[in-house]
Symmetry: C2
Subunit: 317 residues, 2 copies
């Protein structure tokens, strides 16, 4: 995502919400209801082949993250935390017919992997939002549980995103639609972010903050890393860039939050981004902590989300 | 991808190749040789933990594709085609310690999954190019074997990309580096493309053409689909856009070719993109062919690449 000088006067104007709402709130596509069958290709699910309302009608929370294994672990963890029947062996991949994404369900909680980067999560979100539409789900909260690089904060800190910004620290996401481009709002649900911060204070087990999250299209040159296959800048230029990001309010960097915030905002899905930081980019570029330490870091966001979901379900934590 | 009006006079200038070559040709990063250890985080490999030259020193062909299962199938297929020892059960995931990517090796052929979208393949390419550098590999040919949507051609046609274009039909890739943006060349190796086309003519089993490939950041709105969770345009506007793409020489659409072409070009890796088309986007948006038909389509590109590799290795086909 880089500057394209498009011959299009709309190309840097905020998007007007000229979408048509369908019968159920989340989908905004008048063509969809005209389809005799909707194949959710990357989930290997479809409206003719699967009874989506009975499979997913009770979903109230959708948790998404990059790694299939991590999202399976989370589904097993939340099954235990919610005291649901089953020993984890019954948590099987609903999308087993494809290896594009993995999906697991534990009671009202759906846990889905989205791969790495904006395009990968955007495909998953389109098909998830259609799934929620076909299943007639209501009052759904969606939370991205991710990993990230921190800026000026202790590794292991959990960052709850208030707003996603791009590589130029602007709170916007640009969506190409045919040969036009629209600018989308990347604000996340402020009340949800504050509720999650309160949960973390109650757990009182690891540092948690609310801050801006920078979302990039690239892990190496795009995040100012000196350890990629290509690097044309100095350590000083890198540090100057990351310092500018810190001054702009950025506390962590990842690769999915902007389109996640934009699509959820537009579709009326209550959304949060909760990422643990694996390193402090002001100190280095490589992720050198042991596997055990990194696993414990990743458990932190999962504990926080579990505590939040239990509260929402009026279960004592 | 999307227009950002960056306050930066370099933002739409072609990149000058001001990269420093390292001892081995593919990496262009003077900082890399200063690292005491290089952890290829998303491969779960490293220079201290693994003997990369002995593991990968003999690699001459790298084949990459989105799906882990498809790339494992390809590794088993090429092992048989090259008459190598083993029944396929010895083809195991070299990156088993992570679920970000999968990697398989059959003699001189490495088969790696890259997930979906430009950011996902770019992380894999950075770490692959560093791996080839650490393993001291030379004269490597890299081929993306993918799936795509066709424009105005019969589903099942194999498209060999001559040049990757963006959503505005421009033969360029924009890379954000710190707060600047550079424009990169997306030309692929013309001789390699022609050799692949000749191979296909000899196989004479399925239609194969050379054409432009449009690389987008999004599968739904970004490719003019009417069946996403969000759609604000009409069928007529969609068709007009795809017709414009056809007139501009675009024969298929996928989501990785531009950064693949740009990085390989810059690093001096001989590269090709060979994608089978699963549908004709002028006829519809949904992928409705049976699993069996789609599997046979995907085998076509694999047969072509196998035939090419055998020729290069001076084996009769």
């Amino acid at each position: 995502m880089a500057p394209i000088l498009v011959d299009n006067s709309n190309s840097n104007l905020p998007e007007r919400d000229n979408y048509v709402n369908n019968a159920f709130g989340y989908v905004k596509n008048p063509h969809l209801d005209l389809l005799s069958e909707d194949i959710l290709y990357h989930f290997d699910l479809g409206t003719r082949t699967h009874d989506l309302p009975s499979m997913f009608g009770d979903v109230k929370f959708v948790c998404v993250g990059g790694s299939p294994n991590r999202m399976k672990d989370f589904a097993i963890f939340i099954q235990q935390e919610l005291g649901l029947d089953g020993d984890g062996s019954d948590i099987t991949d609903i999308c087993a017919g494809t290896d594009r994404y993995s999906m697991y369900k534990a009671g009202p909680v759906l846990s889905i992997s989205h791969g790495m980067g904006i395009p990968s999560i955007s495909i998953m979100l389109h098909e998830l939002i259609k799934l929620l539409h076909h299943a007639k789900c209501k009052d759904v909260t969606i939370i991205r549980i991710g990993t990230s690089g921190g800026i000026g904060i202790e590794p292991g800190t959990v960052v709850i995103t208030d707003i996603a910004v791009d590589a130029f620290f602007r709170a916007q996401y640009e969506q190409v639609i045919l040969d036009k481009v629209v600018i989308r709002n990347t604000q996340l649900d402020q009340k949800l972010a504050e509720s999650l911060l309160r949960c973390s204070k109650e757990i009182n087990d690891f540092p948690t903050i609310i801050g801006h999250t920078m979302c990039t299209y690239d892990f190496y040159e795009g995040q100012g890393r000196l350890d990629g296959a290509l690097c044309s800048f100095s350590k000083e230029e890198k540090c100057e860039y990351l310092q500018k990001a810190y001054i702009a309010g950025v506390r962590n960097i990842e690769m999915e939050s902007s389109v996640f915030a934009a699509m959820c905002h537009l579709c009326g899905l209550k959304a949060a981004v909760v990422c643990v930081t694996l390193l402090d980019r002001l100190q280095g570029d490589q992720i050198t902590h042991s596997h055990g330490v990194l696993t414990e870091f990743q458990r932190r966001a999962q504990k926080l989300i579990s505590s939040f979901i239990k509260k929402q379900l009026h279960m004592c934590t």
